[in-house]
Symmetry: C2
Subunit: 419 residues, 2 copies
């Protein structure tokens, strides 16, 4: 029986101490750690796969379905991909110590803003065990200590990865507690961590809405939230309808289970008939179920009628809400009312429409003439990402290395005093 108060406090305090040393770790040391970890994952693949087998065995007992069990499964080629992802993180530029901007004052003071780590990250996530490795790599490369709290379904796999990451920290002469894994699956442990704002600088929950809501309500420190993506494609009256169809089908079908998949298409009335007659057969070919507003329902024989709730739903499935609008502004109004501020796209050939849409739609990513699926750290050029923030505060959209940092003012003078 673990004393959770003591246990969580000791992990958090150890993380804080490790973070103080990580601030001054060189990029070379951190790359060495990432390299050793990648090597370790490849070398210990048999142990990791054996640990994963324990999780797979227990998975049906946790009620995991076939798809979830598949996501949990590790094999040689998946381990190779996880190790290769570490090589990619090594290749990203060192974020810490960068002079973000500077300013010489009339009195000669040189005022610089220098990028520094946030400190300690508490990262809560579910299922897929590769996230353990990705998150640790991003946090430590950005100079932060991290406390990892994975799902109980992946506990053995996570522990196996953790052992590799920890050994690599010791070998790289980085603080051993730079990465820590919460070894109890007790839900109460999370509540205890969320009280420790004196040690933990930010909490990042990645998982379902209820997890994020619970964490936000309980946390005494800032939280980077990753809420759902009710993403729209708006087909403007001036759209290239071939292009609009390709963008819609890609957004809906390329990977329907993720947050930047398209959930709703809004169509300008002037092109509704021709767009739908072109797009619907292709959507049906992809087995997409259509839930239509009253007007589009008439144009799509055999479609279902959408309820108001449908327009607010992140289906994460091959289902699409369809609505005809009379103007760009009606589309923007619908997105403001029903969207989740994640990713929204317009397909248009009209410059003024594109400008109006990008200025007025208040979402983390607003896209002109491309698929909503591009809102992703890798696709935006940030390298790996630890999540996609639906907040406006601190970080918005994909969170990579820089989003895990803060800054401080470093000022150089020659004896200046204030008059």
């Amino acid at each position: 029986m673990v004393d959770l108060v003591k246990y969580t406090h000791s992990l958090a305090l150890q993380a804080r101490e490790a973070s103080r040393q990580l601030v001054i770790a060189t990029g070379e040391q951190k790359s060495r750690w990432l390299q050793l970890a990648a090597d370790g994952i490849r070398r210990c693949s048999a142990e990791i796969i054996a640990a994963n087998a324990q999780d797979l065995k227990a998975a049906p007992g946790y009620g995991l379905n076939t798809a979830a069990i598949d996501r949990l499964r590790l094999n040689e080629s998946r381990l190779d991909a996880i190790a290769a992802a570490l090589d990619d993180v090594i290749a990203l530029p060192e974020p810490i110590g960068e002079v973000i901007d500077s300013n010489v004052r009339p009195n000669g003071l040189l005022v610089t803003r220098v990028r520094v780590p946030l400190g300690v990250v508490f990262f809560i996530y579910e299922s897929r065990p590769n996230v353990t490795v990705d998150a640790a790599a991003l946090c430590v490369k950005s100079g932060n200590a991290v406390i990892l709290r994975g799902g109980k379904e992946a506990l053995h796999s996570n522990l196996a990865f953790y052992q590799v990451l920890k050994n690599a920290l010791i070998d790289a002469k980085l603080p051993e507690h730079a990465v820590q894994l919460v070894e109890t699956t007790d839900r109460e442990a999370v509540s205890h961590f969320l009280k420790l704002s004196q040690y933990i600088d930010v909490t990042i929950p990645r998982g379902g809405k209820s997890l994020i809501e619970r964490v936000t309500a309980e946390a005494s420190m800032p939280v980077i939230k990753h809420f759902d993506g009710v993403c729209h494609v708006y087909v403007d009256s001036s759209a290239d309808l071939e292009q609009a169809t390709a963008i819609l089908i890609n957004g809906k079908c390329q990977r329907p289970g993720v947050c930047n998949a398209t959930e709703t298409v809004l169509i300008h009335a002037d092109v509704a008939n021709s767009f739908l007659s072109h797009a619907v057969p292709l959507l049906k070919e992809k087995k997409v179920e259509l839930r239509c507003c009253e007007r589009s329902h008439d144009l799509v024989p055999g479609s279902l009628q959408a309820t108001e709730a449908d327009f607010r739903t992140e289906y994460l499935d091959l289902i699409l809400s369809v609505k005809i609008v009379d103007s760009l502004d009606e589309a923007i109004g619908h997105i403001t009312e029903f969207g989740s501020g994640h990713t929204d796209a317009i397909v248009t050939r009209d410059l003024a429409s594109a400008e109006r849409f990008t200025t007025r739609v208040d979402s983390a990513a607003v896209i002109v003439n491309a698929s909503t699926r591009f809102n992703d750290g890798g696709e935006f050029g940030l390298g790996a990402e630890i999540g996609i923030s639906t907040d406006k505060f601190h970080a918005r959209g994909p969170c990579g290395l820089k989003e895990l940092t803060s800054y401080k003012y470093v000022v150089h003078g020659q004896g200046q005093i204030r008059r």
Copy 2:
């Protein structure tokens, strides 16, 4: 009897609606508003001074001392200064719409980050009525709607300013509710606003520690915190002692009641004797009371002995804690343990010492060879500031226009879909 739930909800909702229109306000419109407000303050000076007289009359009843009453007082020249500060805000560059950075992807997508407002700011402050005008100017210039909650001591003055600001909004054809003043002094109103995270994007409390702690505990939205400044000057063994003395005296005496005033001097043992014999007579001339560690106590006849609590205290007065240390690292350790992460300075001629200090001291501003008093938005070149953040999240140090903004990704493609 006001229904606080309804009242706070209606202000917050109005602010949210105003913020949607402010996103698309041009810089010209906002400048016009600032100009009209400056003109209005000058034109209505008699009314404002009459309203202020009501506050001054009530001030002794609120227990305000002479200094606080003086800070509350408005006269023609102070009103001129408040109006002139608006001219300064007009002169600052327009923050909204700036492309912060951009990135062309291999597939031709142009990924830009565009600066946008946070949305709605709830600003809580005390006493000085000029803050009403400054805060409104910064929030609206950065495209945010603001709900102002001033202290009860300044209510009549604040209402008079608010009338001017509101009339100017209407004349400038900006949304009337872009600036709203909470007209009840009921403390409970604050608690109600702090629950309305669906409308309010950030709360900024500016005042005593207990206010900030209460707001942080209750707020359901992010808070930009401005905690106390236990600021240090460390006199290195290689310091120019004349320079160190000037920096210390400026930091302590130029304006002792503010957060970036110096509270503690740490002195390397090698120079303690010569530094103290030079500096102490000058400090005494300025009527500074010295509270000394055991070793320095012996070197300063007639000084008081410092307790551990002294080293943690923001005196905001002509009192200075003094401690002799044996090394730069001991100084850094003391600052880590006793400091508040606000502003810390080193006086040194040694490059390695300067680098070690700026890298390892984890404060919002770390200063080499200049006074701690420079940690200020105006002095750092940000223009006016709404506060100095002691957080690491979102904004650290002085918060000017940019710190009141977020960003969104705006992506331009030519039909790209994800493979």
